[in-house]
Symmetry: C2
Subunit: 727 residues, 2 copies
């Protein structure tokens, strides 16, 4: 697909989106003199916004709009056109895009809906638009988009008033979400935007392209995205991997539930996929994921302005015990910790606080600042200078002391604010501030905000910011840049095995799947394939007195247990013989046409902790590894971790650590912990195998039994990708 080619080129060169997202000339196709129409509003937005480029309204019926002379058609435009805004209905689009191509228009914003999101007819029309765009070399924003703006270039195709230019870039599949953020920012008073685009149906340009553009855009400090669905998730992950080290990327992803996915599909035709998987993969590449829409702006602002935290240890300075308690709860739920303050720090605090103050973290100054708010700034400084503190969190009524206690405290508050600003510049740790006075914006809080220290009006939002700063710090310190597991060198025998299966139009047999794993160093239980009853004696002799399991070998029997194709706990040749007959009888009854190639005989696995390793080639994100504990953890609790392949060692380790059921692996009720290093090694090996064999479409190791020493793969299934020819 040629979008891929273009995006690929962009990874080496500058994004082509700059050409039309910062246009020097704009044509408005369907420009209108009717003030309720988009073709009029966009012109108002450009003119009132002091756009310095050329504006060409296209309208064959009127000679001028808002004082700007029109052209009857695009062809009549005298100069070059960087960007076309198209306001006409869906059916006109294939023709108009062809016209854009002839004119050399670089990008077109298509507002019309009525494409893929409405069904098959619309999808056909959308394809025609895309074909015309490809043929003419025109890039497309939308269709079904709310539009775009680039405030630093003074391009505003949305006619939104009162938006402050700033450093938050926003790509949103919801126009209302943009409006909501704009109003929130207006109310906040300090946040501004750089570029906004509604990607709509992402027919041509997808989130990956926009992200790369925001990554390169010097006026964007934080890339923020509302996503209903990615069209090329794999490429998005690649772009994010490159950009997250440079600037924070914040994603709010809808479709967390089945209801949400259904709604997204009828809105932008998005394929939402698994939410849990998407979140894991985004975090793998350093993206900050927020789960509530009202946290998007606070988190984006905090990440844009504040230092990242080097760790999870937060020092809380509070002037009220109740809010200190609430803060402790929220920090703990967010996976953050209360930093253990050093003895020296406590002594320094004791020297400036009243005896009733609580010096253990959370520090409750308990009235010590009532007559002197500068005490709070000094506490923050003392805490920030403690090596065991990664972030400082001020909680309470700072900013409102002069209202609450005495007007004369205003001077002290302003001096405290200056000290905090100075501290923030001096120390490489974030200072996060919650004040219950934030909604009324008193002078000290305005001063803090102006100096780049945001003040939050909700403890919950502030804690989410602390969490995001900590996660970003951890990503940059430990995760980013870790070497990714290289693919193994494919083995000739295995290539031949894949080719054989492909020729026979089947997936791999269990023993073949295990052979593949074994060939690349995965610990698989020993086994023998028995092709007929006459080979049973040799198998019995081989395994001696061990208890054995016997499983049918047939490409036609997928659910071996259901078919009666599995018998366990067999000891001795006689038992093997009897089991063999039983399996053959039952499986033939189950499927008289089944092609049965014999049975697999393998020693019964030792008891241990059951785990599952899976691989899918996700239609959005490509090859993805899944790891979970067996049984109810996967089936009932959906307690699984996902990572895009290839993995780094950190990825593999964090998959294990992330499970809710990890305590099972750490050993409960006095049982020994399982060998985590061996599991990590298994995950990395699977990653390298999948990278090396494109013929492998899906893989399922279920169960893997984990032991205090190593693990054993007990069952393995490999589904073949029939589109890839084995060599």
């Amino acid at each position: 697909m040629s979008t891929h080619d273009t995006a690929l080129a962009a990874s080496a060169h500058r994004s082509p989106l700059h050409d039309f997202l910062a246009p020097d000339s704009i044509a408005i196709i369907g420009a209108s003199a009717d003030p309720t129409k988009r073709g009029y509003k966009a012109m108002v937005g450009l003119i009132k916004g002091d756009y310095a480029g050329r504006i060409y309204p296209i309208n064959p019926k009127v000679s001028e709009i808002l004082g700007v002379p029109t052209c009857p058609t695009l062809d009549d435009v005298p100069g070059a056109v960087d960007l076309a805004l198209i306001c006409t209905p869906a059916a006109t689009l294939p023709g108009l895009i062809a016209e854009c191509g002839r004119k050399g228009v670089k990008g077109a914003v298509i507002l019309a809906a009525g494409f893929r999101e409405t069904g098959a007819e619309g999808a056909k029309l959308e394809q025609q638009v895309l074909d015309a765009a490809r043929a003419g070399g025109v890039r497309i924003i939308g269709p079904n988009t709310s539009g775009m703006f680039n405030l630093h270039k003074k391009v505003n195709l949305l006619d939104l008033r009162n938006i402050k230019a700033g450093d938050i870039g926003f790509i949103s599949q919801s126009g209302n979400m943009l409006l909501a953020l704009v109003l929130e920012a207006e109310h906040n008073g300090h946040v501004g935007f750089s570029t906004y685009v509604g990607p709509g149906n992402q027919t041509d340009i997808g989130f990956n392209d926009y992200l790369r553009y925001l990554g390169e855009d010097e006026r964007t400090r934080v890339a923020t995205l509302y996503v209903e669905g990615f069209r090329d998730g794999q490429r998005f992950l690649q772009a994010a991997r490159e950009i997250t080290p440079l600037k924070p990327v914040v994603v709010y992803k809808s479709g967390a539930t089945e209801l949400g996915k259904k709604a997204a599909s009828s809105h932008t035709g998005a394929l939402a996929g698994s939410y849990a998987m998407t979140v894991d993969l985004l975090r793998q590449v350093g993206v900050t994921v927020v789960h509530h829409s009202d946290r998007i702006l606070p988190v984006a602002e905090g990440l844009g302005l504040l230092q990242q935290a080097r760790g999870k240890r937060v020092a809380v300075i509070a002037d009220g015990g109740g809010q200190a308690t609430i803060t402790s709860d929220r920090l703990s739920e967010a996976g953050l910790e209360l930093a253990p303050l050093s003895e020296a720090t406590r002594k320094r605090l004791a020297a400036i606080l009243l005896p009733q103050a609580s010096l253990a973290n959370p520090v409750d100054v308990a009235g010590s600042s009532d007559a002197d708010p500068e005490v709070l700034a000094r506490c923050m400084e003392i805490a920030a200078e403690d090596d065991s503190v990664d972030a400082v969190f001020l909680v309470g009524m700072f900013g409102g002391y002069h209202t609450r206690f005495a007007e004369s405290l205003l001077g002290g508050e302003m001096r405290a604010a200056e000290s905090m600003i100075e501290l923030a510049r001096r120390i490489d740790k974030p200072l996060v501030i919650y004040s219950l006075y934030a909604p009324v914006k008193p002078p000290a809080l305005r001063r803090l905000h102006e100096a780049g220290l945001p003040v939050y009006a909700s403890i919950e939002h502030a804690v989410r910011v602390l969490q995001a700063l900590g996660e970003r710090g951890a990503y940059l310190a430990h995760q980013h840049g870790q070497p990714l597991q290289p693919g193994v060198t494919p083995v000739e025998d295995m290539q031949a095995m894949f080719a054989r299966a492909q020729n026979e139009g089947r997936d791999l047999y269990e023993f073949e799947a295990k052979a593949l794993l074994r060939a690349h160093g995965v610990a698989v239980a020993e086994e023998r394939v028995v092709h007929g009853a006459d080979e049973l004696a040799a198998a019995a002799a081989h395994f001696g007195g061990q208890a054995l399991a016997m499983k049918v070998v047939s490409k036609d029997i997928l659910h071996k247990s259901d078919a009666g194709g599995v018998v366990l706990n067999l000891v001795g040749e006689a038992a093997l013989g009897e089991a063999y007959d039983r399996i053959m009888t039952r499986c033939r009854a189950y499927d008289p046409n089944a092609d049965i190639r014999g049975v697999l005989v393998t020693p019964m696995a030792r008891k241990g902790t059951e785990a599952i390793v899976g691989v899918v080639r996700d239609p959005i994100f490509g090859p993805v590894l899944m790891f979970g504990l067996g049984g109810i953890f996967v089936e009932i609790l959906e307690d699984v971790a996902f990572r895009a392949i290839p993995l780094s060692r950190f990825d593999a380790e964090s998959m294990v650590d992330q499970l809710k059921g990890r305590r099972i692996l750490e050993g409960v009720r006095g049982e020994a912990a399982v060998d985590k290093a061996a599991l990590v090694d298994l995950l990395l090996k699977v990653s390298s195998i999948v990278s090396a064999y494109p013929q492998l479409s899906e893989l399922d190791l279920n169960p893997v039994i984990a032991y205090p020493d190593g693990y054993a793969v007990v069952d393995a299934r490999v589904i073949i990708n029939r589109a890839v020819v084995s060599c």
Copy 2:
């Protein structure tokens, strides 16, 4: 304890708190001329607040404060004193409270900290204060309280300005939380408060008393509480049971995590207990629990103003597809549903919407209202009239149409607001409104709010309000007033059995615990106690060919398996004999001094689904029943449900339904569902047994094995309450 007696009296009569929470005269002990002191600020609050009662500043050193003549001591006050505000340090309190008693003061607000929350010395001082209060008949608010106000009585001991009188009552162990809510309300512009009290250490008056007062207070429409810890949880539950049918009760409880509990303890000396248990018990009696502090006010306001919902089915009317998607996610996460709109409703909607509108719920009007916002009101009306809809949720930019599209739409917006107000009055379903324009308070939204339709600025908050309305509706329809399981009539033999165990200074033997259960109709596996090897033959004969389990009987061996006191899968007399010897040998080795009374022989239980039933007598909440699935569900996932005893049938059913692992009970992988009715019956039986036998302190049925037909209690343990004498 005499607080209990007083509170008990209150359940029959009017709360005694009215006498001093709406005082006609107030003495301020420690009144001060220093404007930074509480003894000055309180006077300002009263005078500026136009308090109509008598104010008596007590101060021996100055003759008047703010123009009010002082009295040197309380004794010198000429008239009666309803309420005393005491601003002096902790050490002065025992003497001052005694003085209050002599004067006939009804209630005293003690601001000083330095009591139980600081340790043993403080706890002693607190007890002295309580003793003095009891002796003098003075009720105590605090100590360690932020104070109180009653705005309808114009009593404001906090000197908080700009608080609107209204109908939200607030009891908060955090003064900062009050301030935060007051500022949020000021910003909201429509919410006001009735009475506030900081219960502080709850030395005398506890949350249960305050709740009862708010329940009776005609000026309070919603009782809202920030709780660090209950002192008498059992009595609180009783009060809530009586009040929640009359008015909504909203609780934010801190101590959700270990960090939070620790912080609460050093703040108000609160014993936080188990958060999960507290939440379950509060919900059992109809309390709305919010988990985030920034949702307290939105939820309280919504519950105060809006109709409760009769069910979970929400109709969403949105003017943007992205926010419709987000809303679907949040509704689903909150356990709410998208109402399936009837064919008739869809037709009515289609008649007023553009063809591109999405008529399936969420309804996306897709531009249909851009030129006529009244379309939104009509959609709401059509949805509200659908019988399958329990609540209507408007999502989007209503209120901002005249800003976003054309000034001329303001009239339509105002008419739409009037239609919504009229609809809300006519229809007995809640209309919940989210608008992204809420922060800028445009005219239509102000009009809605003034007419009692709150407008939310966050989808997340609005969904939490919908959830609370639905939960309250469900409580009132299904849960409230359900008969509580009466106690069984105690059986004489069982009373004798308890007495025997008490005399012998031990808990019940397993076979005794099972006898107790069996005596009251609980299904317990058949069993025999074998006192010596000579009785084994009879036991073997009795059980025939069944596989048996053998377990040691000894009061000294609590962990039978660890001691080697359990052997399973025994068939025949010889096997029993061998096992008996083995158990005796191992248990004697384990504890040479153990008093071994023989063994219990019982048939091996059929395989089924393991569950656990437990009872504790919680120090805060009294007898509480716990139910969960066995194994990792309890041990790793803490997936358990709690209910205060006695239970209603609804309580028992909802315990089972509430478990995350309930799918296990419903049958997974083609297994049959377990007999839920039998489990519910078991929970109710346990409730009645616990109610009837105060000698029973703790009970542990672990495991109970649930089958498609019934269940079996396989092991039972009863801990005896040594303080209760068996009769």
